[in-house]
């Protein structure tokens, strides 16, 4: 009897595996696809090498004045010389250790929360106390620290202050508004609806402008509300309306059975919301919420129009120094890079959070 030993399976042909197959499948599968691939490569060819040549190969890194930059490349000396301005704005030079230590504290706190297991109560206390510490440190006027008015805060420091205060405060207000909109009490419901729809109908720039230019005219002369505080209040209430709508979409995604189950357990309204509905609603809206927060982070640069100097506005300030005229491009590229780092980390974090909270009940 003939024996037919099983042959080892042959590999699929070269055109069906490995990089060649991948290229054929993803880049060259149809005439349109081929055309777009060529177009894409051409665009990359036209843009990337010149940018690398400008930003790295021809760039100047050493020196301390504009005269160090002679060729056509980027002048990163400018960024180096103006780094303190980009990071801290007009914060007094001899007091820079204060914002620096606040930044360091943020990193330390983050590392502590991530890498040290347990100690939840301590962690929570530290996180709650941190804003107080940061405020005392940055603003000063106590414990022998000289006062640094908020008008001198600027650059990345100001961007982060506005974004974090906006995010942290708009979140609870947004939740209350979303609950209000779901409420069966007509006054609460209509007030919430009116507020949300009104705020969403007005551009942020208008809110900031009102807070900065119109509001002072209503106060008696000499009464001056801090400009940063005005902007923070404006941004917080503006953002709260968007957060509220995000959370409401979460409410609508929760099956009615969950409400009924909570009722059947005999939970009151607040217990039902806090223990059953909100945790699920927030979980499903994480991508939207983070999207809103990312756009808030970028919207902070609008405070430029009311004379606060966030990271983006510092480009204008630094590039108008008579010793550094014509450095706008370097400034904008640098600032875009910083913005990208922050927004990209935010979206990465949201991805991880989604995975961690995923209970697979889709």
């Amino acid at each position: 009897m003939a024996v037919y030993p099983p042959q080892p399976a042959k590999e699929p042909p070269l055109t069906a595996r490995g990089p060649i197959a991948w290229i054929r499948h993803n880049l060259l599968s149809s005439p349109y696809n081929i055309a777009f691939t060529i177009l894409g490569l051409a665009i990359l060819y036209w843009t990337v090498p010149p940018f690398i040549k400008w930003a790295i190969i021809d760039a100047h890194f050493a020196g301390d004045s504009k005269s160090a930059c002679t060729g056509g490349g980027a002048c990163w000396v400018f960024i180096k010389e103006k780094l303190d301005m980009f990071l801290f704005g007009f914060y007094p030079h001899d007091q820079l250790w204060r914002p620096k230590s606040v930044f360091a504290a943020v990193l330390a706190l983050g590392a502590f929360a991530k890498f040290v297991p347990g100690l939840h109560r301590l962690k929570l206390t530290l996180i709650v106390l941190f804003p107080v510490f940061a405020y005392l440190m940055l603003h000063g006027g106590h414990f022998g620290l000289p006062l640094v008015e908020t008008s001198k805060w600027g650059g990345l420091l100001l961007t982060l202050v506005i974004a974090s205060v906006g995010i942290v405060l708009s979140f609870p207000i947004g939740i209350l508004l979303a609950l209000g909109r779901q409420s069966k009490l007509p006054i609460i419901k209509s007030l919430s609806v009116f507020y949300i729809e009104f705020v969403r109908g007005v551009p942020l720039i208008t809110v900031l402008f009102m807070a900065s230019v119109v509001l002072p005219l209503f106060f008696p002369e000499g009464v001056n509300f801090d400009k940063l505080a005005r902007a923070l209040i404006g941004i917080t209430f503006f953002e709260a309306a968007y957060v509220a709508e995000n959370i409401r979409s979460g409410f609508q995604a929760i099956p009615k059975g969950q409400y009924e189950a909570a009722d059947a357990l005999g939970l009151g309204y607040w217990q039902k919301m806090a223990l059953v509905i909100l945790p699920q609603a927030i979980k499903v809206t994480i991508p939207n919420l983070v999207g809103t927060f990312i756009s808030l982070f970028k919207d902070t640069s609008l405070v430029m129009i009311i004379g606060l100097f966030d990271l983006l506005a510092m480009v204008n300030v630094t590039a108008n120094d008579r010793d550094w005229l014509g450095m706008d491009t370097e400034g904008y590229v640098f600032v875009a890079f910083i913005f990208w780092i922050f927004t990209f980390s935010m979206s990465m974090y949201s991805k991880r959070l989604e995975k961690r909270l995923d209970t697979n009940n889709k």
Binding site: E81, L217, N224, V317, R322, D323, L325
Partner: protein, 338 residues
């Protein structure tokens, strides 16, 4: 509740009523610091150095005013303002003086509740061309292509000028100043036009500044002057005579370096009055003796301020032109200290 409301509106009304009479001088003395509104960034006029210190011609005026009022040029809080909020900031009392390259015009002076104190810089719209074009005067620009920023008075001035000289031009407009500069450098137009002070700043942004020239013609009047709130004559006087003191000091040759010498030895009656050796110039504006001396000693005279910020030794290299003293062919002029 109602009672409180009434009380509140009474206070508010009172506050509004006292607005006109408010003593800015007393406020500044009490605060110990002068609040000065400046531009967020204009090379040579108001700019921040790498340590965040403000400098520039508009900035130095505020330092001089602080020296006059408080005896210390460093006691200034600079409030950077954009074009839209500058007048509100002054009206609402957020700042005590607005020194932000603001053109003195009839409408602003009469309808905004502010007063302009005296011209610190005579500006006006000018033209810049590549040297290679061989143009020596704006009258040779017939048929030129001009790069301008859209939506500015610059555009209107340009049209007026060419029409009144029976010349033709083709305008290419851009949204921002940077775009205008880049287009001009790329050769998309023959001429770039904006305010003369801005032209010099723009020229330093170009890769080869020496290949371009600014033409001598100025086609519009832009007298840039500091402003104070209307209705406080005492403060207005102080602001006005601070500027005059800086000009008089230059006219009399008194500088930061020789002011002590002049105070001790000068026999010129006007110098003696200016430096409070005799007369009561400072007493007249309710300030301690030597008020103008402080400004000259700490900030310098007008000429020194000009040269330090925008003059030949700075990257801007602006010539004195109209801003030279009246004795030297310009129109900067101070009424006498008498």
């Amino acid at each position: 509740m109602m009672k409180r409301l009434v009380k509140f509106s009474a206070v508010a009304a009172l506050a509004t009523a006292t607005l006109a009479m408010a003593g800015t001088l007393d406020d500044v003395k009490k605060a110990g610091v002068l609040k000065c509104g400046v531009n967020t960034g204009l090379p040579g006029f108001s700019e921040a150095d790498s340590k965040g210190q403000w400098r520039g011609l508009d900035v130095d005026y505020c330092r001089a005013l602080a020296a006059v009022v408080l005896g210390d040029a460093s006691k200034v809080k600079f409030v950077p303002l954009n074009a839209k909020e500058r007048f509100t900031a002054l009206q609402s009392g957020e700042i005590d003086v607005l020194s932000r390259n603001t053109t003195d015009t009839e409408t602003r002076d009469t309808s905004l509740g502010i007063n302009f104190t005296g011209v610190m810089y005579y500006d006006g719209q000018g033209f810049m061309v590549p040297k290679a074009l061989g143009v020596k005067s704006a009258s040779e620009l017939d048929g030129a292509t001009v790069c301008i920023q859209a939506g500015t008075t610059t555009e209107l001035n340009l049209a007026d000028y060419f029409r009144s000289h029976h010349m033709k031009f083709k305008a290419i407009t851009f949204d921002t100043n940077d775009q205008v500069t880049k287009a001009f450098e790329a050769g998309r137009c023959d001429v770039l036009t904006t305010d003369a002070s801005g032209l010099y700043a723009t020229r330093t942004k170009l890769k080869n500044p020496d290949k371009y020239v600014v033409l001598p013609e100025i086609i519009s009047k832009e007298p840039l002057a500091p402003a104070v709130r209307q209705g406080d004559d005492q403060w207005f006087d102080i602001a006005k005579w601070t500027r005059n003191a800086l000009l008089t000091a230059e006219e009399k040759g008194i500088t930061m370096a020789n002011v002590d010498d002049a105070k001790a030895k000068s026999t010129d009656p006007e110098v003696r009055r200016l430096l409070s050796v005799e007369g009561k110039m400072c007493e007249n504006v309710k300030l301690p003796n030597g008020c103008f001396y402080n400004a000259i000693k700490q900030v310098g005279n007008y000429g020194e301020i000009f040269e330090r910020n925008v003059g030949a030794k700075t990257p801007l290299k602006i010539k004195r032109g109209l801003n030279a003293l009246w004795t030297k062919g310009g129109i900067q002029y101070s009424p006498p200290f008498r």
